[in-house]
C-alpha cells in the first residue's frame, strides 16, 4: 500500500516535471503557469470550492468505473448511464414539484435507478445472449446520447430557448449551496463511503473483488458469479447515473442542456485506471484531476496557456503513473536480480575455489565439493 502510494507520487511528480518542460518548450512562462494552476484550484476558499464542485461528478464516475473494472465487468457505458440519470431527474423534476425533503431523496433514487437500468440492459444482454458488455455498454452510449438529444430537441424542448434544452426542474429538487459549495459534493461523499464499505468490507464486495481477480476461483469457492456480475453492473450504472442526476440537482442550470456531461464519464474511466480500481485512490485522483481542470482556467487567465493544457497534463499523469506502476517494479526486480547474481558469483571465487570443477574423465564419483 505504502509502496504503491510512493510509486504513484513519483509518477505524478515526474509527470508534472514533464508538463513543465512542455510549457517551457512552447515558450510559456512555465513556473508562473504552474503557480496559477494551483492558486486557482487550491489556495483560496473560492478555488477549493470550485475544485470540490468539479470533483463531484468525477468521484462518482470514477467509482462507477472502478467498481465495474474491479469486478471484471467492463462497463464503458458511463456516458450513457450519466445521461439517462440526468434525464430521469430532469423529467421527474419537470413533472413533479413537491417540497425538497420529498423531492431530493426521490430525485436521487431516480438517478440511481435510471443509471442502474441502463447498465442493467447490458447485464441482461450478457446473461441472456452472452453479448460482451464491453460492446453493448459502448453501443448503449450512442443510444442514450441520441435518445436524450431527441427528447430535448423534440418533446421536451423548452420553446422559450433557442437551443435544445429542457425546461427547468421545479425548485424542490434543487440542492442547497453553502458559499458556493453544492450539497451535491456531500451526496458524492456519502456515495463514496457507501461504495467503499461495500467494496472493502462487505461479503458481496469481497466476492466482486475475487471475481475481478480470478472468476474461476470465486466460482469454485461458491460465489454466484452470474448474480454478482449483474449486481456489480447495476451498482456501477447507479453511480454513473447519480453523477448525471447531481448535475441537474446541483449547480445553477437545473435543466438538461445539449452537450452536458462533457468528459466527466470518460474522465471517470481514466481515474479508475490510474487508481488501479482502488476506492480510496479513485477518490483522491478524482480530487486531483478536478484541481487540475479547475486551475487550468485560472492559468489561462493569468499566463494565456490554453486551458486544454489540463488535458495534456492529465494524459501525461495517466501514462506516467500507470507505466511507473509496472515498470518500476520490473526495473527494481531486474536490478535486484543482477545484484544477487553478482553476489553469488563472488562467493564462487572465495568459497569453493577450484573444487567445483569436475573433469568428467574418471569413472565413479564426479562430485562437486564445497557444498
Amino acid at each position: 500500500m505504502n509502496k504503491n502510494a510512493l510509486t504513484a507520487l513519483a509518477g505524478i511528480g515526474v509527470a508534472l516535471a514533464a508538463g513543465l518542460v512542455i510549457l517551457w518548450a512552447q515558450g510559456y512562462p512555465a513556473l508562473p503557469s504552474y503557480a496559477a494552476l494551483f492558486s486557482y484550484s487550491l489556495f483560496s476558499k473560492f478555488a477549493i470550492v470550485s475544485t470540490l464542485n468539479k470533483a463531484t461528478p468525477l468521484i462518482l464516475t470514477g467509482l462507477s468505473a472502478a467498481v465495474g473494472f474491479g469486478s471484471n465487468c467492463v462497463n464503458l457505458g458511463q456516458v450513457g448511464q450519466f445521461l439517462i440519470g440526468a434525464m430521469a431527474v430532469s423529467a421527474f423534476g419537470i413533472v413533479c414539484d413537491l417540497p425538497a425533503p420529498v423531492m431530493i431523496p426521490l430525485s436521487i433514487m431516480a438517478a440511481l435507478a435510471a443509471g442502474a437500468l441502463w447498465a442493467g440492459i447490458a447485464a441482461w444482454l450478457r446473461q441472456r445472449f452472452n453479448m460482451d458488455e464491453f460492446i453493448t455498454t459502448l453501443m448503449l452510449n450512442f443510444i442514450a446520447d441520441y435518445f436524450t438529444l431527441y427528447l430535448i430537441s423534440g418533446p421536451m424542448w423548452d420553446r422559450a430557448t433557442y437551443s435544445p434544452m429542457t425546461k427547468m426542474t421545479g425548485s424542490g429538487s434543487w440542492l442547497p449551496m453553502w458559499d458556493g459549495l453544492s450539497a451535491a459534493f456531500v451526496v458524492a461523499c456519502i456515495a463514496f463511503v457507501v461504495t467503499w464499505v461495500m467494496w472493502d468490507r462487505s461479503k458481496l464486495g469481497y466476492e466482486w473483488r475475487a471475481m475481478g481477480q480470478n472468476s474461476v476461483f470465486s466460482r469454485v469457492g461458491g460465489c454466484d458469479n452470474e448474480a454478482n456480475f449483474t449486481r456489480a453492473m447495476l451498482m456501477s450504472g447507479a453511480l454513473a447515473g447519480l453523477a448525471g442526476g447531481l448535475m441537474i440537482m446541483g449547480g445553477m442550470q437545473h435543466r438538461f442542456v445539449k452537450g452536458m456531461g462533457a468528459n466527466y464519464a470518460w474522465d471517470g474511466v481514466m481515474i479508475a485506471i490510474v487508481a488501479a480500481n482502488g476506492m480510496l485512490p479513485t477518490g483522491l485522483y478524482a480530487l486531483f484531476f478536478a484541481a487540475i481542470q479547475t486551475g487550468a482556467m485560472g492559468m489561462e487567465l493569468e499566463t494565456a496557456v490554453p486551458s486544454e493544457f489540463a488535458l495534456v497534463l492529465q494524459a501525461i499523469i495517466v501514462l506516467f503513473v500507470v507505466a511507473s506502476r509496472e515498470s518500476t517494479r520490473l526495473l527494481i526486480n531486474r536490478a535486484a536480480a543482477n545484484l544477487r547474481a553478482r553476489a553469488a558469483a563472488r562467493t564462487a571465487h572465495g568459497g569453493s575455489h577450484g573444487g567445483s570443477r569436475s573433469s568428467g574423465k574418471e569413472g565413479g564419483e564426479r562430485s562437486a565439493s564445497g557444498h
Binding site: 469481497y206 470465486s218 469454485v220 454466484d224 527494481i332 553469488a344 570443477r357 562430485s367
Partner: protein
C-alpha cells in the same frame, strides 16, 4: 571422444527479483550418454536445461558445445546447432497431421516457395521406420494418444537432425506401459548415437535408464555419479538433503457410513461427446478412494458434476445422504471440502492477499468472520483466521497481507489445502492435491489427507476425538494413489473399469486398465467395496466405529 562435448561452467541464473534458480552450476555431459538430471520441483533442473536450450538467458557463466563457447539466443539456434528439447507440454498443432507438425517451421521449400512434399514425406517416413516410432504420418495429432504425441515431438527433433535430446519430465503424462516403450525408444536413439538428457524427479526411472546421474538441489549441483550400484535412498538423500520416508504411515481403513455416492452419472459435453458413462461410486467415512486414469478420461467432468460447476444431466449425486444434483455450488460446499486441481487457475487469486485467499467460501459459511452485520466481514477476524491457517498448516509466508503469489508453490498449495480442511465437512474431494509441489510439502499434505480420513486405527481414545471423513482422491500420480488410497478405481473413456485394492494389485495392472488393455471388471452398482477396508467386520460395525456426529 568423451570430453568437451557439453560443458557448463559457473552458471548463475536469478529470476527477478531474487530467486536464485542456478547457483554456480558446473556440469559436463559426455557424448553418447544418457544423463539424468534429477531434483525436486524448484531445484533448477528445468532452468538449467532451458538455459542450455537458449530459452532463457543466464545471469553469468559459460556454456561450450563441442569445445566452442556458445550462447544461444533462441531455441531455434540451439536446434540448428544440434540441441533439441521436448517439453512437458507438447507444442503441436492439434488440427495438423503428424507430417505437417513435423515440417512446421522447417518446411522443405523449392523454387517459388512451393512445398517439396514428396521428398520430405519420404524423409519423415524413413525416420519413423529407422527409429521404429510406429506412427502414421497422415493422422491428425488431435486424434492420437499422448504417447504418440510425445513421439511426434521426438520425431520433430530427429527431422531437424539434433544430436542432443533433452527430455523434460517426459513420463509425467504417460502410463507405466507407455513409459516402458519410451525407455526402449530412448535406448534405441542412444544406441544410434544420440546423447540424451533426461529430466525427472522419479527415482526408479532414473535408475533404470541412465548412465550418469546428476542431482540438483536448490539451484546447486549436488553430485554427478555414474549409475552403478546406486540405490533409491542414496539419490533421495542427495535430492532432499535428508532421509525421506517413501511411504506415508497409514493405519488400516475402518469404514463407516456412506458419505458420498454417485449413481449412474452420465455427461455429454457441448461437442456431443460422451464424457461420463453411467459412473457409479461410493465413498465411506474413513476411507480414501483413489481414481486413476489417463487425463481426459472423465475425471475432469466427474469433478465438475460433483462440485456443481456443470449441471448433472442424468444420474444422482448424494453427499451425506442428501441429493445435491440440483444444488448450487455453495449449497454443496457446506457438505464437502474441495481441493481444486490447479491452484493458480482455480484454487486462488494470485494477486489477492493470503487473507483474502484463505477466507474464500468460509466468508459465506463461517459466521465468526462477520463483524456485527451479517453482510460485512471483519478485517481483523479475517486476518486472525488466515494467521491460524498459516500456523496450523506450517505455511511459510512473510505476512498474511502479502499477495499469495509471493509464496512458493508448496506453500500456496498448503494454503489451499488448509483452507479446505478447515471446513468440518465429512466428504473431501481432492483433485491432484500434490501436483507440482516440492517433496517436503507433498509429505505434509499427504499426512494431512490421512489425518482427515481419520486415524480410527490408533488408540481408542485418540481415535474418537478425530472426526473421520471420506476422501475421493483424483491423481495422475500412481505412487500417490498407491501410498494413500484404500481403494483404487480406474477410469477409462468415462467409465469406471476397475475397482482394485492396493495391496492386491500392481501399478502394471492399474496401468493396463488405464489404457483399456484389460477387459473392464463388472462392478457392483453401488461401487462400494472390493473388500479394501480392514475386514468386513470393521465396515459392518462402522456405526459404532465412526465418531458420532
Amino acid at each position: 571422444m568423451d570430453d568437451h562435448f557439453i560443458e557448463m561452467r559457473s552458471l548463475i541464473k536469478v529470476y527477478p527479483p531474487d530467486t536464485l534458480a542456478l547457483d554456480r552450476v558446473d556440469l559436463d555431459i559426455r557424448e553418447g550418454e544418457i544423463h539424468s538430471v534429477i531434483g525436486e520441483n524448484g531445484a533448477g533442473k528445468s532452468t538449467l536445461m532451458k538455459v542450455l536450450y537458449g530459452m532463457i538467458p543466464t545471469s553469468s557463466g559459460e556454456i561450450s558445445f563441442r569445445g566452442r563457447r556458445v550462447r544461444y539466443a533462441s531455441p531455434r539456434e540451439a536446434v540448428a546447432a544440434g540441441i533439441g528439447m521436448v517439453h512437458q507440454e507438447f507444442m503441436l498443432v492439434p488440427s495438423y497431421t503428424i507430417y505437417e507438425n513435423v515440417i512446421l517451421g522447417a518446411e522443405p521449400v523449392g523454387r517459388l516457395g512451393a512445398l517439396r512434399n514428396a521428398e520430405a514425406r519420404r524423409r519423415v517416413r524413413s525416420l519413423i521406420d529407422r527409429y521404429g516410432l510406429n506412427l502414421n504420418i497422415d493422422d491428425r495429432v488431435r486424434d492420437t494418444s499422448v504417447g504418440a504425441q510425445q513421439k511426434v515431438e521426438i520425431l520433430k527433433l530427429l527431422y531437424r537432425d539434433v544430436d542432443v535430446l533433452i527430455m523434460d519430465e517426459p513420463t509425467a503424462v504417460l502410463t507405466p506401459q507407455e513409459t516402458g516403450e519410451l525407455f526402449r525408444r530412448l535406448r534405441d536413439l542412444n544406441a544410434a548415437g544420440k546423447t540424451i538428457i533426461f529430466i525427472s524427479h522419479k527415482l526408479d526411472e532414473v535408475l533404470e535408464l541412465s548412465d550418469t546421474i546428476t542431482v540438483m538441489r536448490r539451484g546447486r549441483r549436488v553430485t554427478t555419479t555414474e549409475n552403478r550400484g546406486l540405490g533409491k535412498a542414496d539419490l533421495a538423500r542427495a535430492m532432499v538433503g535428508r532421509d525421506v520416508v517413501f511411504s506415508v504411515e497409514k493405519p488400516p481403513a475402518r469404514c463407516g457410513d456412506v458419505v458420498f455416492e454417485a449413481r449412474g452419472l452420465s455427461y455429454v459435453d457441448a461437442g456431443g461427446r460422451q464424457r461420463l458413462d453411467k459412473v457409479s461410486l461410493a465413498v465411506r467415512r474413513g476411507e480414501i478412494v483413489g481414481i486413476a486414469g489417463v487425463e481426459g478420461n472423465g475425471q475432469f467432468e466427474l469433478v465438475q458434476l460433483v462440485t456443481g460447476l456443470a449441471p448433472v444431466q442424468s444420474g444422482q449425486v448424494k453427499i451425506c445422504g442428501r441429493d445435491v444434483a440440483r444444488a448450487s455450488v455453495i449449497e454443496r460446499r457446506k457438505l464437502m471440502c474441495y481441493v481444486p486441481q490447479d491452484r493458480k487457475a482455480s484454487g486462488s487469486a494470485q494477486k489477492m492477499s493470503l487473507t483474502d485467499n484463505s477466507i474464500m467460501t468460509h466468508h459465506r459459511l463461517n459466521q465468526q468472520l462477520e463483524s456485527g452485520w451479517r453482510a460485512l466481514l471483519s478485517p481483523g477476524k479475517s486476518r486472525r483466521f488466515a494467521q491460524n491457517l498459516v500456523d496450523t498448516f506450517g505455511v511459510l509466508a512473510p505476512s498474511v497481507d502479502a499477495p499469495i503469489s509471493s509464496l512458493s508453490g508448496g506453500n500456496q498449495q498448503k494454503v489451499v489445502v488448509g483452507r479446505e480442511f478447515l471446513f468440518g465437512a465429512d466428504f473431501v474431494l481432492l483433485d491432484q492435491p500434490t501436483r507440482g509441489v516440492d517433496v517436503g510439502s507433498v509429505e505434509f499434505i499427504q499426512r494431512e489427507i490421512i489425518r482427515k480420513r481419520g486415524s480410527v486405527g490408533g488408540s481408542a481414545g485418540e481415535g474418537a476425538g478425530v472426526p473421520s471423513a471420506g476422501c475421493l482422491l483424483i491423481s495422475a500420480d500412481l505412487d500417490e494413489l498407491f501410498s494413500l488410497a484404500d481403494r483404487i478405481l480406474v477410469m477409462h473413456r468415462g467409465r469406471i473399469v476397475a475397482d482394485l485394492a492396493p495391496p492386491d494389485t500392481t501399478r502394471e495392472e492399474v496401468g493396463e486398465y488405464m489404457l483399456g488393455v484389460r477387459e473392464p471388471q463388472t462392478i457392483a452398482p453401488t461401487g462400494a467395496g472390493s473388500g479394501a477396508c480392514a475386514g468386513a467386520g470393521a465396515c459392518a460395525g462402522a456405526g459404532e466405529g465412526a465418531p458420532a456426529r
